[in-house]
Amino acid sequence: MTLFLGFSAVNTGNNLLYLVVSVLLGFMAISGLLGKRNLDDVWIAIETPDEIYAGLPTLLTVQLENRRKAGAFLLDIELEGKSVLFPATAGGSRAALPLSARFENRGRQPLPTLRLRSIYPVNFFIRSRAIPFDEELIVFPRLRQLVPEIAGEGEKEPGEHQERGRGHEGELNRISDYSGREPLRQIHWKLSARQDQLKVKEFSPPQGEPLMIDLQQIAARNLEERLSIAATLVASAIAAGHPTGLNLPERQVPPASGRTHKLHLLRELALYDRP
């Protein structure tokens, strides 16, 4: 459009057309500048939940800090086709929004590279820049649906436990941070909205017998499947209140209960046979 008007202006020598062209050029220059500045000095961090399972969608928290004086607008943070929009972030302020992600493989892996994109200030160009991270995350083995017999030893199947837990929903034990493991409907949305961080309702589990899981005893086609089943057992047994231990070919982890212990076991499984 500017070119067309510019062409007319030159050919007619009409100074008023020149004015229109000049203002368009000015606008392009200013909007280019604003658009360029818009992506500068924007710092992005990712908060990962404690438990990330391969193949299971999880919510990452994208923290955005605008370190400029001016506001940052229309920032899209994109990860594998999914994106989250920060419409307007005032200068010097922070904002956080959840971004759904899915990791297919277990083990230690670098945080995925995000793309920061923006069409600001005018929807003519998209500016983008890659946001790499130095940090790493550990993805636990894939969880599987278990048949009741494998859950073992006259215990109730995990599904039933969870159901019982949900049955006690009125007497929830405490509110804790979202770890990635909890079903989405357990998220306390009201509280999450107020605190800029996902919160989940947690229920007290019943106590049970100690349990030792032997990786090599698990009947499965390959190592990955065995690890996957082991992880599922660890998760469900601890959730059911059994102090649980792990028997790996090289070493043993004695049974214990609690969240920290669970994470320790899952970590062992996630990193088994991997650097």
Partner: protein
């Protein structure tokens, strides 16, 4: 919470109104009726969120409208159909449902509508419309980008406050840059599509033929013909030279090819530089303050008797600069050739006898000239533009019977007598007087100031100006003397704005660009000698503002960089030079990159830098020094 769509609608409806308003009077009745209706209906429909016309019929109507008017387009009528197309397409867009693309179309159509109005009128109102529209369109486009990304977005008050800054910055920045681009955009000397431009109104001003006695009264309008920018001049110097008439034919004087004589120099001490802004008119002669030395301007041509004409399109608004020496005598290379310069038209016996008597009163031309002056005074002639007698021999009638007349009578009678006294003479037509506008520092010359005077050639002298009208008995109180009246303050103000608009915008051309560049260069050279305040008189202020703004912006953007960022940029630049690779900030971990390059100095820098970065604290003096030191070493051992 404010819905984005509401804000966007406000922009769209004001922008479309501003775009079509300057065109409205030039549209066809159909568009004139439909436009306000559609505007109102669209507004109501958008408030109720119920579009009036579904997309498909709208598209069909658009196509019909387009072809109906497109077939009317020809070489002579191009602008009118186009404006009607623009207006009606805008109508259709206003009454249909709007997605982000439609909003954009409305903005574009509105801007085109405003732009096309420049082909119909050049009034100052355009500038006001443009300013408002720029505000509307830039804000609208900004909001549109939000709308495009998330149509149902609601903005919270704090977010709106954050958005206020770009909403102001965009239009203001665009307008500021507009002045810069306007000054530097390339211009051609002769535009190709000149015929598309609106013609200035035609004026008559002084005529190319002096024929006293053909009308009984002279109408004099106060229509402006010329503005001249420059210092105030002495009132009796305000002769604006337009045309030289050198051959009497019957009772009138015309301009004919004169024998060759070139001007050697002007004899006069003063030296005035003036800029002229003639109103576009019928005359191709360009008036200059008598006596002009030279005129510069791409579309001007000089002639031997110091007359300047306009080349090319007559109805174009132009400006030119001229150097004059007020009242100077024109020294020529040789004496005027007698047969041409002494020829007279039909001369009555009474006039011839008078000339013989005057001849006997002196032998030298100066003595005869003095005698002629005495004769003119003795005749007790009256300057008048009314109740003039019509005559076949106006000069005779004027001098001996009616004794009434205006400048043409005085000048032609005087010049005829001069020639009869063997003194070469010619008539000069132009203007006398001028209203000086103190605010703008310019003279305003209108049609009623048209005047004719005489130039006589005296041996060992040159061509000298003589105004015989001053011999009138009522010269003091005649309309001649009322020509220097000042305008009322309010009229001066209004005239001033119009003047500035024409001067700064409408007549700005290639020559203007060169002048501006030259002046900027000169000012830069003299910069040390004078203070900025003294320098910035005219264009200098604008230029200084633009340059200042640019410097300010540069400093501001530099200052926004933290010391850490500056170090990082320096480091990345060095890496680029040492290893010939392009690195974008944040593409890769610094340490990883340095290790990959196997550059020990770089690794050293990256280690210090990263260690500090993760502590998330501002750089302390020691770390800064260490980083600088590392950079210095990198610089020393290049590659």
């Amino acid at each position: 919470m404010i819905a984005l769509r509401t804000l966007l609608n406000i922009c769209v409806y004001s922008v479309s109104l501003l775009g079509v308003a300057p065109l409205y009077l030039y549209l066809e009745p159909l568009a004139q009726i439909v436009l306000p209706l559609a505007w109102g209906a669209g507004l109501i429909a958008d408030i109720r969120k119920r579009p009036l016309v579904p997309p498909l019929p709208a598209t069909l109507i658009s196509i019909l409208v387009f072809f109906y008017y497109a077939f009317q387009i020809s070489r002579t009528t191009l602008v009118e159909p186009v404006t009607n197309i623009l207006a009606l397409l805008l109508v259709i867009r206003l009454i249909t449902a709007k997605n982000s693309r439609n909003y954009l179309q409305i903005f574009v159509l509105s801007l085109f509508a405003l732009a096309s109005s420049t082909l119909l009128t050049l009034s100052l109102a355009f500038f006001i419309f443009l300013l408002l529209q720029v505000g509307g369109i830039t804000s609208g486009l900004l909001l549109l980008s939000f709308f495009h990304r998330s149509p149902e977005l609601q903005l919270r008050p704090p977010q709106l406050r954050t958005l206020l800054r770009p909403l102001l910055l965009l239009p203001l920045g665009s307008l500021l840059l507009m002045f810069l681009f306007f000054a530097i955009l390339p211009r051609t000397q002769r535009p190709l599509w000149d015929f598309l431009n609106p013609a200035g109104s035609a004026n008559t001003g002084f005529s190319e033929r002096v024929a006293p006695g053909t009308v009984s009264s002279m109408s004099s309008t106060r229509r402006m013909v010329l503005r001249v920018e420059g210092p105030r001049q002495a009132t009796n110097d305000l002769y604006w030279r337009g045309i030289v008439l050198n051959r009497p034919v019957g009772g009138s004087w015309i301009r004919a090819e004169a024998p060759e004589e070139s001007v050697v120099r002007l004899q006069g001490d003063e030296h005035v530089e003036l800029t002229y802004y003639p109103e576009p008119g019928a005359s191709r002669y360009l008036p200059t303050l008598d006596t002009p030395e030279r005129v510069t301007g791409f579309r001007t041509r000089a002639q031997e008797d110091l007359i300047f004409t306009q080349r090319g399109h007559k109805n174009q608004r132009i400006s030119y600069r001229g150097i004059s020496r007020p009242g100077a005598i024109i020294i020529t290379s040789k004496q005027p050739e007698s047969p041409f310069w002494l020829a007279t038209g039909t001369v009555s016996p009474r006039l011839r006898q008078t000339a013989e008597e005057l001849k006997n009163r002196g032998d030298t031309p100066s003595e005869r000239l003095a005698a002629l002056d005495r004769f003119f005074l003795a005749q007790e002639l009256t300057f008048s533009v009314e109740e003039l007698s019509l005559s076949d021999d106006p000069v005779d009638d004027f001098l001996f019977v009616s004794k009434r007349g205006y400048c043409e009578f005085f000048a032609s009678a005087y010049a005829t007598l001069l020639r009869l006294l063997d003194i070469p003479a010619r008539l000069v037509g132009g203007y006398y007087g001028g209203e000086y506008n103190e605010l703008g520092g310019y003279y305003r010359i209108n049609e009623s100031m048209a005047h004719v005077w005489v130039e006589a050639y005296l041996p060992h002298g040159g061509w000298q100006r003589i105004d015989p009208s001053l011999f009138a008995v009522n010269a003091e109180e005649s309309s001649l003397n009322l020509r220097n009246n000042a305008l009322s303050w309010s009229r001066q103000m209004a005239d001033n704005i119009d003047y500035l608009w024409n001067k700064a915008v409408i007549t700005y051309d290639f020559e203007g660009q060169i002048t501006l560049a030259r002046r900027a260069g000169e000012q830069l050279q003299r910069f040390e000698a004078k203070s900025l305040l003294e320098e910035g008189g005219k264009g200098g202020v604008v230029l200084a503002l633009v340059v200042g703004g640019a410097i300010f912006w540069f400093i501001l953007s530099r200052r926004r960089e933290t010391p850490r960022q500056r170090l990082l940029h320096a480091y990345l630049k060095l890496l680029r030079r040492r290893h010939g690779i392009t690195i974008h900030e944040g593409e890769k971990g610094l340490l990883a990159l340095a290790k990959e390059l196997k550059d020990s100095e770089a690794i050293h820098f990256a280690q210090i830098y990263s260690a500090n970065l993760y502590r998330d604290r501002p750089l302390d003096a020691a770390t800064t020094a260490a980083l600088r030191d590392s950079l210095r070493r990198m610089r020393r051992h290049k590659g």
